[in-house]
């Protein structure tokens, strides 16, 4: 099959990439653009390791064709901290401080979902936080510190302790 040309915005930059019609967005990000922060876990939409934002919404990039991304806006873990102090999103900082990471493979995806969740629901209680990251599996931790970190970031943003840089 002949290659196709896809134009999209990735982490604020316009990108044109050649790819196969059957390449996923995940493959485009990892193998054509070198953005390997986004991981491939199950490849069928269960584990969420490949979570990115597409037009502002958290999606599984393993189930999006690159061809479907023409003109779309994609944010990956590499671009999540853009505009925040030290280039780190509050969720990223909270994960570091809380020690919410063990092997780390699921973490980029979980951080993307968590960032989406606290943006959407800054008042989310733990049950709601759990629901919003239900599409992300972690085989190491047990989730407790992950939820602690998400709640820490949620509270800091809600209280205005951390703001995007102007």
């Amino acid at each position: 099959m002949s290659e196709i040309d896809v134009g999209l915005e990735v982490n604020g930059e316009q990108v044109r990439a050649r790819c196969q019609p059957h390449d996923t967005l995940l493959a485009l990000l990892r193998y054509r653009l070198g953005l390997t922060g986004t991981k491939e876990g199950c490849g069928e939409g269960e584990c969420g390791a490949c979570t990115v934002f597409m037009d502002g919404e958290a999606v599984d990039s393993c189930l999006v064709l690159a061809a479907q991304c023409e003109g779309r806006q994609v944010t990956t873990i590499e671009g999540l901290g853009r505009g925040w102090p030290d280039g780190l999103h509050p969720v990223q900082k909270a994960f570091m401080e809380t020690g919410a990471v063990q092997c780390g493979f699921c973490i980029p995806g979980i951080i993307m979902s968590a960032a989406d969740a606290i943006t959407r629901r800054s008042d989310a209680a733990r049950e709601e936080v759990r629901r919003l990251v239900a599409g992300n599996l972690c085989r190491c931790t047990g989730y407790t510190k992950i939820f602690d970190a998400i709640e820490l970031a949620r509270d800091r943003v809600a209280r205005g302790e951390v703001r995007p840089e102007a």
């Binding site: 490849g43 069928e44 958290a58 189930l63 061809a67 599409g135």
Partner: protein
């Protein structure tokens, strides 16, 4: 790692272009909406279309409106997230639909998956939803008879491992939104290159795991869902699954009810999902014209559970699943009657110990 097999990609911008592309592709073509069902199936080689017609650029598929008569039209390309939070269906009458949409898989899948895609969801079975090598080890099955299973309706060979002597495939209808929309009396618009027609949601389906979408021609695009104005109605959706956060249904009960003065039932519609290869509508004549007493609910639940014939091809023990049908019908109707949640929980607890 599983990879999507090669295909030719077509990206129409309008519904008419999509319908023409689908006609031109013939039996080798398939529509791709949210991709959350088709792409995993393609990775597992359950479905291997040679032409994929991507619908994400067709803006008209996301148009929604309320008509002068109060009826609501939802674009089939609306994501399940947007369906669940659409102000057009915020009324309690439509709660079966919004609940069903918000219980599909995970928030990610809901943001990607579409209403039309969920209505056309492939049927599921323990012997079918496996990777290529797993299915090869059992010499494949009737629904996807390798080496590159196509799940096309012309295929008539292969064994059904659920019921080896059976002439048909018993894969399970696992769509959440279809039972809900049937209970709401919804219709869909189907558009082909030759024209368009509007049919009841229920008529899309046939009780056959392979030919489950018999009411939609292969060259038709499901473009919109129409829900009637439901003044005075209430509805609900009960879903049984192993993980409360994230699973296909192994039983759904969608119920809609209109109660008149004195609590007399003026209208009732109950639909079962995931207990056959299509949604099953239950006749509700016995409920209408009488108050919704405990006895009426119990008698109706016995009647409603009869057509449910779960087979051993999905999660949980089948005889337990059959028992739960009755309990879920009771629970759904009690909820619509206005019973307090505590009572409903106690009723549900009667069946839950079997889980252990």
């Amino acid at each position: 790692m599983m990879r999507v097999p090669p295909f030719k990609y077509v990206a129409p911008k309008t519904i008419a272009e999509a319908a023409r592309a689908l006609r031109d592709a013939g039996p080798e073509g398939m529509l791709l909406a949210g991709g959350t069902d088709l792409l995993p199936n393609m990775k597992r080689r359950q479905q291997t279309p040679k032409v994929v017609i991507g619908l994400s650029a067709v803006k008209d598929l996301r148009a929604s409106l309320r008509g002068a008569d109060g009826a609501v039209t939802l674009g089939a390309g609306l994501s399940l997230t947007d369906t669940a939070r659409s102000p057009l269906v915020a009324d309690a009458a439509y709660r079966a639909l919004t609940t069903a949409a918000s219980k599909v898989a995970t928030p990610h899948i809901q943001a990607m998956g579409t209403l039309g895609g969920n209505l056309c969801l492939d049927t599921r079975c323990n012997y079918y939803d496996q990777n290529h090598e797993w299915r090869q080890a059992i010499d494949f099955c009737k629904k996807a008879p390798g080496p590159h299973g196509t799940a096309q309706r012309e295929v008539t060979h292969g064994t059904c491992w659920v019921a080896p002597g059976s002439p048909r495939c018993w894969a399970v209808s696992s769509t959440d939104t279809a039972p809900a929309l049937v209970a709401l009396g919804a219709e869909v618009t189907l558009v082909s290159a030759d024209g368009e027609r509007r049919v009841p949601v229920l008529s899309l389906y046939k009780n056959d795991g392979m030919d489950y979408l018999a009411g939609k021609r292969r060259d038709e695009v499901l473009t919109a869902v129409h829900v009637p104005a439901l003044v005075g109605w209430r509805s609900t959706y009960w879903k049984l699954r192993r993980r409360g956060s994230f699973d296909f249904p192994v039983l759904s009960v969608a119920a809609a009810l209109r109660l008149g003065p004195g609590g007399v039932v003026e209208g009732a519609r109950v639909t079962l999902g995931s207990v056959a290869s299509c949604p099953l509508e239950v006749t509700t004549d016995a409920l209408v014209g009488r108050p919704l007493t405990d006895e009426a609910i119990a008698a109706f639940a016995d009647h409603a559970a009869k057509p449910a014939r779960p087979l051993d091809n999905t999660d949980y023990h089948l005889s337990w699943r059959k028992r739960v049908v009755r309990e879920y019908v009771v629970g759904a109707l009690r909820e619509l009657r206005g019973d307090p949640p505590g009572l409903l929980a106690r009723s549900a607890a009667r069946v839950l110990p079997v889980l252990a």
